[in-house]
Amino acid sequence: MKKNQVSMLLLLLGCVCLGAGWLRGENGVILAKAIRICLECVGIG
């Protein structure tokens, strides 16, 4: 398989994963984590 074809396949895979994650609501988990001060990031949790 040519390099360009691999890249196109990866693009497609990226879009499918991104869309599937969005549809099943993963972004809710990300939002919930990111809008509260994360004690692990800060270094106290």
Partner: protein
């Protein structure tokens, strides 16, 4: 101004503008709080801590650990898709231009020091460490070490991430007395690691990117497939070695133009006396090494 200086100045300007744009919630710095808007459900491409008071979107590595550790989802499809897309389009261009912690390390390396290290024996081998960090601290531990309700923790953020300490920890603890009272051994460890990396970063360019960053590891894996590429015109190249000498990541663009360690900074391109190096989305020329 010579071409190399001009190209570095342009890159620094883009890095600064991007960092300001993605950390534009200035109110957070004044109040010691963080942004809580909907934009935080999506990610930025670089290692930009979502606990930075100014951050307007999420860190992909933090987001990945959050989903891996959540009992309802586990498999982080959204973030994985996002990283595959970004990596396939531009690879480690993100590291060279769109990552605040990359910018911090670039600034540290500009501090004058009598002897700077370009590379050292074992440097290449040590760079595989970041894949171990990715596998263990970002994926395995958040997935496998869970509490009673099946919730995992972001172990990379907790034990390693110096970007979190710098962008989230220092400003938030500095601005909140209640957080200040809670600091202990863990904070001391994370501060120690940050200070150590900053000190090494004055002598050696980007130690965290070279050896520890899991995001750099992911983009590095996708570099070969990325549409944004570096190529060397073998007819024009006079093998003077100038490109390798100026490379901050100690790459050899004539031998491996799409090395997973190349951050696409463009210094080699600007330094080449015969303009044999091309960097961009353009189609590959004849006689060029891809």
């Amino acid at each position: 101004m010579d071409r190399e200086k001009k190209s570095e100045r342009k890159r620094l300007t883009i890095q600064l503008l991007w960092t300001l744009l993605t950390n534009a919630f200035v109110v957070g710095f004044a109040r010691g709080s963080i942004y809580q808007g909907k934009l935080k459900s999506i990610c930025v491409p670089g290692l930009n801590c979502y606990s930075c008071p100014g951050a307007i979107a999420s860190c992909p590595i933090g987001a990945m650990q959050a989903v891996l550790g959540s009992y309802e989802f586990r498999l982080p499809l959204f973030v994985t898709g996002f990283l595959i897309l970004v990596g396939t389009i531009c690879g480690r261009f993100v590291c060279g231009f769109l990552c605040p912690f990359g910018l911090v390390q670039d600034l540290l390396y500009r501090i004058p020091f009598p002897k700077k290290w370009h590379t050292f024996p074992g440097d290449r081998l040590l760079r595989y460490l970041k894949f171990l960090v990715l596998a263990v601290f970002v994926v395995a531990l958040p997935l496998l070490v869970t509490d009673l309700i099946g919730q995992g923790y972001p172990w990379f953020c907790k034990l390693i991430c110096p970007s979190g300490t710098l962008m989230g920890g220092i400003p938030l603890i500095g601005l909140n007395d209640s957080l200040k009272e809670s600091i202990g051994l863990l904070f001391a460890w994370k501060m120690g690691l940050l200070i150590f990396l900053c000190l090494v970063g004055v002598v050696l360019c980007r130690p965290f990117c070279r050896y520890l960053c899991p995001l750099g590891a992911i983009y590095g894996l996708l570099q070969q497939a990325s549409f944004y590429r570096l190529s060397v015109d073998q007819d024009a190249c006079i093998s003077c070695g100038q490109c390798a000498r100026v490379c901050p990541m100690a790459c050899e663009p004539t031998k491996r133009p799409n090395d997973m360690e190349c951050i696409r900074c463009g210094r080699c391109k600007a330094a080449c006396p015969t303009e044999a190096i091309d960097l961009g989305f353009s189609k590959q020329k004849k006689n060029s090494r891809p």
